[in-house]
């Protein structure tokens, strides 16, 4: 079956066009506007970052604001065409996609460009803050719950819920530690020192890796207690994006057919 499926590129493209996620995306619909804003964004980014000397995060934020124009048009179209649930799904898919791109950028900076961990903070480094991660991840949990309430209920969605709650727990733990460290630095009279970047529950120097019982029983658990913070969150987000896409695919397959 698989062999037959791959036997010609043309049939694959046809299959892809019929895919619910691609149908939702409707690449042709906003293509021109998206291309124009992307090209403008690229020029703007280059000018701001290279000529004006604006920090990369600032230039990237400006470009993202520009891309909101085709985004907003697309989501409005989704709302008209498919209703609130699909529009919310469309928004979260886009946002999580961009969020994952940021983690891919961090991953490339650290593993490919060999930057120092504290420099490998993606394209919008100013947003790489504990508060932002905390709010973003709780928002994701909230949106997933909302989607489930509105009918996006399938095994992938349930898995996504579990995954995103676990991810958010880790960020909650990190935010608590961040605030504690900030308080301690304040008590020492050095409140200007950054308290960002503490390990979380998983990964190297994380809570699990320093747990005496776990240390005694299993020693270091490869990946779980050895991976760097940057990699831990790359994997969290990769998983989250894939699960969200799977849940959306399953939901849209029946929903779009019904329409």
């Amino acid at each position: 079956m698989i062999g037959r499926h791959w036997e010609s590129g043309g049939s694959f493209i046809r299959e892809l066009r019929r895919d619910p996620l691609v149908q939702l995306l409707r690449p042709r619909e906003q293509a021109r506007l998206l291309l124009i804003t992307s090209a403008l964004g690229l020029v703007l980014w280059g000018t701001l970052a290279w000529q004006v000397g604006m920090p990369i995060w600032g230039a990237t934020t400006m470009v993202l604001s520009l891309l909101l124009v085709p985004g907003a048009r697309k989501w409005r179209a989704d709302l008209r065409r498919h209703g609130v649930t699909v529009m919310v799904l469309s928004v979260i898919l886009t946002m999580q996609g961009f969020h994952s791109l940021e983690h891919v950028a961090q991953w490339v900076q650290y593993h490919v460009l060999h930057w120092q961990p504290q420099r490998s903070s993606g394209l919008i480094s100013a947003a790489n803050a504990e508060w932002v991660h905390f709010i973003w991840n709780w928002s994701v949990v909230g949106i997933v719950v909302l989607l489930m309430v509105r009918g996006v209920r399938n095994p992938w969605a349930w898995l996504m819920l579990v995954w995103s709650v676990a991810h958010t727990m880790e960020h909650t733990y990190m935010l608590v530690r961040y605030l504690q460290l900030k308080q301690e630095l304040g008590l020492l009279g050095v409140p200007q020192i950054s308290a960002q970047g503490l390990p979380g529950i998983l990964g190297r120097d994380g809570l699990l890796s320093t747990n005496p019982t776990l240390m005694r029983i299993c020693g270091r658990v490869p990946g779980l207690t050895t991976t760097s913070r940057l990699d831990v969150h790359f994997w969290w987000n990769t998983g989250e994006t894939l699960l969200l896409a799977a849940a959306a695919h399953r939901f849209l397959r029946t929903h779009l057919t019904r329409e």
Binding site: H5, H114, W115, L181, L185, V190, L198, R204, D205, M215
Partner: protein, 564 residues
Amino acid sequence: MDRQRTTYLLLLVSVVVILLLLSGPVLRRPGAAHSQSGPRLAGTERTASVAVRAERLVASTPCTGRFTRHALPHATTNGTAAVRMFNSNGSGLAIDDLDDDGDEDVVLANLAGPNSILWNEGKLVFRKQKLAHGDSRAVNIVDVDGDGKQDILFSRHTLPPTVWRNLGGDRFVEGMLPGVDGKVYATNWADVDGDGDLDLVAGAYDAGLEKDLGYNFMFTRSGGGLYMYENRGAEFVGQKLSERAEALALALPDLDGDGRPEIMVGNDFDLPDEVWRRSLGGWSLIAPFRKTTHSTMSFDLGDIDNDGVQEVFASDMKPYDQNVRTLAQWRPMMAQMPHKAFRGNRQIMENVLQIQGDNGTYRNEAYDRFVDATGWSWSAKFGDLDRDGFLDLYVVNGMIANDLFHYLPHGELVEQNRALRNDGHARFRHAPEWGLGSTASGRGMSMADMDGDGDLDIIANNLGKPAELFENRLCGGAALLVDLRQSNSPNTRAVGARLVLHTSAGSYHRDVRVASGYLSGDPSRIHFGIPDDATVRSLEVRWPDGAVSVAKSLDVNHLLIVTR
């Protein structure tokens, strides 16, 4: 299964597989490269006849399961009210039997005050003898002139080292080593050129020299860098191996098993550690380690898994726990630390434990074996503290520097020394129950059986506070101590000899060396801890020239004096 679902499943699996492959190094299983190969002793299998004298060790004081702390009559002082770099680095110490009375004596270096010899009168009673001056860093106890009596060498701030030649009794005469003019900091000794006598390897601490002498010191003949001084009897002939050094530690292990020691230099700051290998073409740099410490403070070698191959431990600075209070004390200082570009940088700011794999390459397994973080670590040494047949690790730590820690009371980062117990699988567990968590800002540290009862006691030279002796009162196990003597060699204490004690519980490997850790001299008396239920089968000694001696019918809890 429909075609669409199959396509997406295939895509999903492909993405996951690609990501897993890319993250291969991150997910590598700890210990995968660990070697189980046997000892690699070089040299011909000549046998050497020896005389063995056995003396029964004294009975231990009742055990309590803890170490008992004793303050010693010596405190390394800085001379100024505020401690600033690089006085923060403190001084070392050395332990050996200086008067041949069978008891281990202690020599402690000082910065502003005089150096001290603590003569061991037995039962942990010490008589203090002040030496004329301080201004000293490293201490080595070594028979420099081959007359059978142990001499003392001190490295100094901005001057060449001094040697105190042992005239017998408690009499010494101070002098210089002819030909040794380097302003060196870390020192060590071994028969580097294989001619039977001991050569001096010495490394400068350039940052300290620059602070005290100005940048021009670099252009003088005896400026900074790394030196090998070949012992030619009447004088030492120096060879400068490296123009730059920030040497806080020097080790002389035989990493490649060719019977000749390599020179390992542990450099502070961004200057990478170096390993020098001698071949027919002269000295050349080799790179056996993929990862090294960033600010290397000390080296020690020990066979932590009793497989006959020594592991290499280097200490660095990393908070020993992830408590926010601990991290808050470190953060502002770390923000000031300069870091070189990350690309290609082999240095990491944590302890490393280099373990040799089957193919001879080393891999850092400090994190996997729980020894990566021991605070602002200085001297770190292996020793079988609980006499279970496995080497444990002790690390002294802490920092006092008003310029670095201006936000902490008295500019001091107060930390508890770390005792790490080997669990028998070459993994280490923090052992606070041993009572070794002193907060006295230790710098130099060494281990020896100070009360002759067969267990390893510990002495630390602290900065600004009295030196401490930790009397070992742990329970269980037995011991065998070994003194090696070479009557027909200038290397009278057989520095470089390797010993293997074969027991019913396994074989334990040790070697005789002059110094390890941070600025700290080791006793020439070798200590073997033996588990309770084990019996001793034989002791194998491979002398520095490769000849082998084997002693059998040995009883535990004895000191063996093996004379060749």
